[in-house]
Amino acid sequence: MARSNKPIVWSLFAAGGTFAAFVTPVMIVVTGLALGLGLLPPEALSYERMLAFVQNPIGKGVAFLVVFLPAWHAAHRLRITAHDFGIRADGAVATICYSLAAMMTLLAAYALLSV
């Protein structure tokens, strides 16, 4: 049987989709809406508090998952959706989508390992 990366990208799609379903809406509410609309206590997302969060090993792991899982979920779904929009260059599309996810993963890992 030909080697395939399908099981890897599919399991990341499924894990990422589940993680995004549970976590992404409340994350968007907190960082994207409640902050800007002044609904959070002033110190909620302060530098000291956020730094302490990502310096804690558990917080670091959670912060990494918040980027890693949805990024690969979105990349895989975007690749499939490009086909639905009539884009037939799957090789190029896959390269772009997975490269974007890989860049986010690496940048997040770099940021989290350097704090």
């Binding site: 968007i28 609309l37 989290l112």
Partner: protein, 129 residues
């Protein structure tokens, strides 16, 4: 005998506008663009956090601009659509059997919504909202 087979004219790019359920399918698929973009925002934020207090505070300021809030409203709408469509297919994606009986689909879906509520409340509680 030479007859050309009939080929139904279907556009590769706009086929999904033909029926409401195709549009709903595409809305579900397109949710990945907003979720991906928001993940990019989070990545950007983590990078700023690693660059010190001034960089982080600049990032927080950007998040409070009207343009940012408009983007996050759109992202929230699609993220919620992703969540509901994702949960609603869970009985098909991972059917659950206990002994001889199949767990009803409504129970599997309901458990996901309950878990979602718990996760959301815990996050809001930890943030301090």
């Amino acid at each position: 005998m030479s007859r050309n087979p009939y080929i139904r004219p279907v556009s590769d790019t706009t086929w999904w506008t033909a029926q409401p359920r195709y549009i709903r399918y595409m809305a579900r698929e397109v949710s990945c663009i907003l979720i991906g973009a928001y993940t990019g925002v989070v990545t950007f934020g983590l990078f700023h956090l690693s660059q010190g207090a001034a960089a982080w505070n600049g990032f927080l300021e950007t998040l409070q601009s009207p343009l940012s809030i408009a983007f996050h409203l759109l992202a929230l709408a699609f993220a919620l659509y992703h969540t509901t469509t994702w949960f609603n297919v869970t009985p098909k994606a991972m059917p659950l059997q206990l002994g001889e009986t199949q767990v009803p689909g409504g129970v599997i879906i309901g458990a996901h919504y309950a878990g979602w509520a718990v996760v959301s409340i815990v996050v809001l509680f930890l943030v301090g909202a």
